[in-house]
Each structure stands twice: as C-alpha cells, then as structure tokens.
Amino acid sequence: MNEEEFYNAKGDKSGGAHYKRELKTLKEDFDDLKTYLDEIRNISPISVCTLSSFWVIIDINKTAETLTGYKLLEIIGQPIDFIFWEKEKLEKIKEKAEKSKKVIVEEMLLTSKDKKEIPVSIYIADRKDQAGALIGYFLTIADITETKKYQSQLEKRAEELEESRIALMNMLEDVEEARGKMEEEKNKTLAVITNFADGILVFDKENTLSLINPQAEDFFKVKRKEIIGKSITELGTFPTIKSVVTLVGKEIKGIFRKEVQIKENLVLEVSTIPIMREEEELGALIILHDITREKMIERMKTEFVSLSAHQLRTPLSAIKWTLRMLLDGDLGVITDEQRDFIEKTYKSNERMISLINDLLDVTRIDEGRYLYKPILTDLEPICQFVINSCQEETERKKLKLKFKKPEEKLPKAIVDVEKIKLAIQNLLENAIRYTKSGGEILVSLRHLKKEIEFSVRDTGIGIPKNQQARVFTKFFRAANVIRMETEGSGLGLFITKNIIEAHGGKIWFESEEGKGTTFYFTLPVKEEFGEFLKEF
C-alpha cells in the first residue's frame, strides 16, 4: 500500500493533508495536556505517587519528592516498602487494596531519605484500564506530623486528665474514708456526750446552741428541739436556764466550778471551756455538774457540826465557870497542887471553847449565816488593840513585835470591827505561835491607791512550798506545824479568808520554809465600797 492508497483507506481524499493536520492537532493537544498535567503535578500541595500493579513507584509529584527527600530517579522503580518500612502493616494494606474496590485510608510511618519517620495518612485508590483491569494504584500521602503532635498533646493531656481523675478519685476515697472515720469519731463523741453524767451544752462561734445532751435536757426540763439553734440570750428566757445564762453572760465568759441553784433540789456546778482549733475559737462548751447531793451532805454535815458545837458549848461554858469559881476560891481554899491541875484543865477547856467557836464560825460561813455589822472606822486602833492583847504572849515567847504605822493618817474603811479583829488576831496569833523565841514579828498598815493593806511578817518556820496551795482550806495544818505539836484547829485562816473576802478584800501570803512568812490582806476604801455595801 502506497501513501495515497493509505490515506484513501483512512477516508482522506486530500492526499494525507487532513490526516496530517489532525495528527498535528492531536499532538498539540497531547503536549498541552502533558504541560497541564506537569503543572498540576508540580503545584499540587498533596503528595501523590503512581504505583504499578506490583506496587512499584513509577511516578511521584514534587510535593512527594519534598516529603520523602528522594529525587525522581532515586525513588522511581523502587517498591513501595522503600518508603514504608512497617512490613506487616504494609502487606495488610496491599491485600486490602487488592481486594477492596474502595479507597483505602490508613495511617503509616513514612521513612524519608534522611531516615526520619514521618507520620502520614495514606489514601490508596486503584487504577483500571478501559476494560476494567487493574493497572496500578494512586497513592496520596498526607503529612500528619502536626496532627499527630496535637493528637499526642491531646493524648498526653487526656492522660494527665485521667491521672488527675484517678488522683481525685483517690482523694475522694481518702476523704470518704476520713469522713467515715470522722463520722465514727463523731458518733463515739456523741455517745460519750449523750451518756455523760454531766450536762453539756455546746455553743458555736455566734453563741448559738448547737448541741445539748439528755442530762442537760433533764436538768432544765426542756426538749432538745425546743432550744437547739437558739442564742444564749434567747435561752435566758427559759426559766430553768435563766440562772445559768446569768452566770455565764451573753458572751459565755470563762468560769470554773461556779455553783448555781436551778431549783429547790437541784444545784449545778457550772464550768465553761472555749472550743479552740489552733488559734481560732470555734465556740464554747458549758459543763453542768450536778452537786445537789454533795451540797445536801455538806449542809447536813454543817448542821451536824453546828448542832454538836452548840450542844458542846453549853456544858463547856458551865465547866469554864465552875473551874473559874474553883480557881477564884469561891468554892473554898484549894491547894497549890489542886490549883495547878485546875489551871491546866481551865486552859484546855478554853482551847475547846475556842475550837467550838471556830467550828461555829465555820458552820455559819458554810451556811451563809456569818453575819457582818459594818461601820465606818479606822483600822489602826483595831490593829493596835489586837497587838496589845497579844503582848503578853510575845513577851512570854521573847519575840520582838513591832507595829509599823502609816506615816499619814489612813482613810477609814467600812468594816465589821469584831470580824476584822478576829482576822487580825488569827494572823498575829499564827505568827506568834509559829515563830521561835527571839524571832521578830512586824505588823504593818499602809495606804495604797484605793485600798488599805495590812501585813504580818514573821521570822517563823514558814510554810512548805508543796502545801502552800491548801493554806486557806478548812482544817489545814502544815506538816512542819504538826511536828511542833502546837495548838491550833486549822480553821483560823479559813475563817480569816472568808472575813476578808466578805469585806470585798483580798488575802495572800509569801513564805519560805525556815525563813518566815508574811500574810497580807487588803480592804477597799471609799468608792470601792459601793458594791460591797449593796450586800447589806
């Protein structure tokens, strides 16, 4: 077939001119198409690889070159595992791609030329010819380094959150455990409080009642629900609680073992304790101890002592006067020997009368019947009187007794003269009694700002340190005193203290065993008497 016959066979009657023009046009279109594809290939921001059906890389675009770090000649002709080193995963993906008709999407690690592992998402789509036969694959690779980084951060954050959650759960468990323990402790405490023999009132920071135990309910004859949540002031409106509220005050001041009579047959000893947590005051606790029985026993004892003393004093007085009559010779002449015996008996009887008088004073004090007859007077003559009355005894014991009077005239004080005399006498007699011969006793009076201070200083045997706290209690006699076998009922200082305090004064002492003792008391003057006078 010549050229003319060839073109005729192709239907071109122009001698090949049309055919050649058409070829030229097709070639130009092909070149344009290639240029277009090259442009797309070069500007596409996504990495694209063309793979043969045997998973050989037969083309990559510019972005893929950049991503992998390989040039065309280095990577084309290489199997896909040239850049994907996860063999098992890759085999699975290949198998999946060969079977599936869908686009395969997976995450893999791409190993670049510089051996850097880059996390990527790969999309594999198969290529088929016009007959539908597989001719290869398109592989699109997206760098997900940043996404992975964020994902990693998110996972890390999630892990941290999980750790925090676990820590929180642990804390909650600990808190729950602690709460359980606290609840247990609270129950124990409540059980203790509930079963406590004493009444207990618990107030919060605002002085509102937050807890009352059954014992306290019984004392006040109130129901818990009636008074819980009420302020201390409101509680004052309850007749049975009023006296306690009056005692502790609106601010619940600190008191210790103060007695209060709730009703005829109920006496409580009230103490308050602040509830503290470190430096913070959380509220206050009022403890009510029922001392009704103790008070009753005490009263009965006092009554018994009083009755006994009265009953003893009458025959003792009779004995006294009989002995006196014997000594004075009113009942006839007695021998010297008889006189000696009778005098000793008389002195012993006097001591018994003195003891009985002391006991009666004590019972009057205990019963609150130790009456006072105050008058405005000078203390100096009273002191002088007592000193004079003791002069004989001091001389007998060869003691140096001095009275240091104030330089200026003392203000007058309102006192019960007989009682103050007794108080001074008790102190002075003690000084004389417990000071050995040759010792010194100094009585002083001085004017302080609003008080008169009296003191008796001796160089006597002193009071042992460990017994000083009990000096003003009933029947107290120091150990060293007992060893001396001197006279004394042990009631003098108790009576003295009550006399001084009944006058609104204070009494105290300083003592050193073997060196001496100084007793002081003060009595208020002028306006200080205001409150004191109200008592009469």
């Binding site: 059906s53 083309d59 040039k71 002709g77 036969a133």
Partner: protein, 213 residues
C-alpha cells in the same frame, strides 16, 4: 558467550558525522532520563557543560527545550550519551546507571503502565509497542519469556536498527530499567547482547536474566 563491555572507544568527529547519518528518529522522551540523571549528579551547570561538549562535537542540543513527544535524530542520542561520558569522564558504571534511570522519568513510558499488570504481559505486549513509541525505525520483538518463582529470562530481538555498538550497550541497560519498573523483587538482573548486527548478525538479540529475592 557473554559479551564483555570493555572500554568506550574515543569517537572522532568523523565517526560522529558518520553516526549522524543514521536516518532514524527518536522521541525526545529518550533524552529525558539523561537530563534528569545529569541534573541529579551534576546539576544545571553539568547540563550546560554537556551542551557545550555537544557543541564542540559540531551539534546543538538544548536539553531543557527538548519535548518528549517531538522527533529528534536517533543518532543524537548516541552523541548525547557520548558527550555526557566524556564531559564528566564517566565510565561503564555511570553509563549503566544512566541507561537504567532513563525509563523512570519517561512520560511516554507511563502510558505503558497498563501493560505492567504482569512481567510477562509487559514483556510480550509492551516491549514491541514501547519501541514504536520511541523510535520510528527498526522493531523490537519479544522472542521468549520464562519465569519461575526463583528466576526467569527474556529474549528480545531488535531488527533494522544499526546505529553504533556504544548504543547497543546503552539500550541493553535501558531494557533492564524498563523491566525493573515492572517488577521490583529482582535479586539480580543482567543483560547480554547475544547477537549484534555489528558482529555480523542480522539483528540484535538481548538475553535478560534475573533471579528473585
């Protein structure tokens, strides 16, 4: 007997002139692989140097202007290859690498991927057609193909194409480059020109043998 390639003879200007008298043409795609190889190894400057060497030999090529679909004198492929070797004083190894790299970047070759479904199909169908896409002279025939799990071989026959022995060598490794695109698992692949028109044969015959990994 295996043909051993020893040394590339220095071509004189006269010899090159004679080569250039070869009537056949080749598609610009054939130069594409050489261009990429030079760029990779020597960069743009290297490309300029080769162009100058070709000038020195009395011809003119502007590599960047070569279009893959245009026809160019087939002999220019020999001149180009020769100029590259001489410019950079490369030896056999570089020539082999360049020949094998050439199919990798061929736009034309990508159209043939549809035939690469299997090595056998590629060999029997693509090889003859591929020649037609590249050259307007001569023909390439698939003669024999055998493949086992371990190894295989293929025999190809090139007829009516007598350019230069240097180019016979180059083509052998170009064919290997094509084979490597079809299948990547070769442990070893060799080519031998068992028959050559320059040795008095009527055609060139290439025996390609391989073993698998």
């Amino acid at each position: 007997m295996e043909k051993k390639y020893t040394e590339i003879n220095i071509l004189s200007i006269e010899e090159i002139k004679k080569i250039m008298e070869f009537p056949g043409k080749v598609k610009g795609a054939a130069f594409k692989g050489q261009i990429e190889y030079i760029l990779k190894k020597k960069g743009e400057k290297g490309l300029r140097k080769v162009e100058k060497e070709i000038e020195r030999l009395g011809y003119h090529i502007e590599y960047k202007k070569i279009k893959e679909t245009e026809w160019y004198p087939a002999a220019l492929g020999v001149v180009s290859s020769y100029a590259i070797i001489t410019t950079f004083n490369w030896g056999k190894k570089e020539l082999i690498n360049m020949a094998q790299a050439s199919p990798k970047v061929s736009f034309v070759l990508r159209f043939f991927m549809k035939y690469f479904a299997s090595p056998e199909k590629m060999f029997k169908t693509a090889v003859p057609r591929l020649w037609e896409r590249y050259y307007n002279i001569g023909s390439l025939e698939a003669i024999d193909f055998k493949r086992t799990k371990k190894d295989g071989y293929a025999v190809m026959r090139l007829k009516n194409f007598k350019l230069h022995p240097f180019y016979c060598f180059y083509l052998g490794y170009f064919f290997i480059g094509v084979f490597k695109l079809a299948e990547p698992k070769f442990k070893e692949i060799t080519v031998e020109e068992t028959k050559c028109m320059f040795r008095g044969d009527n055609f060139h015959e290439y025996l390609i043998k391989w073993t698998y990994k």
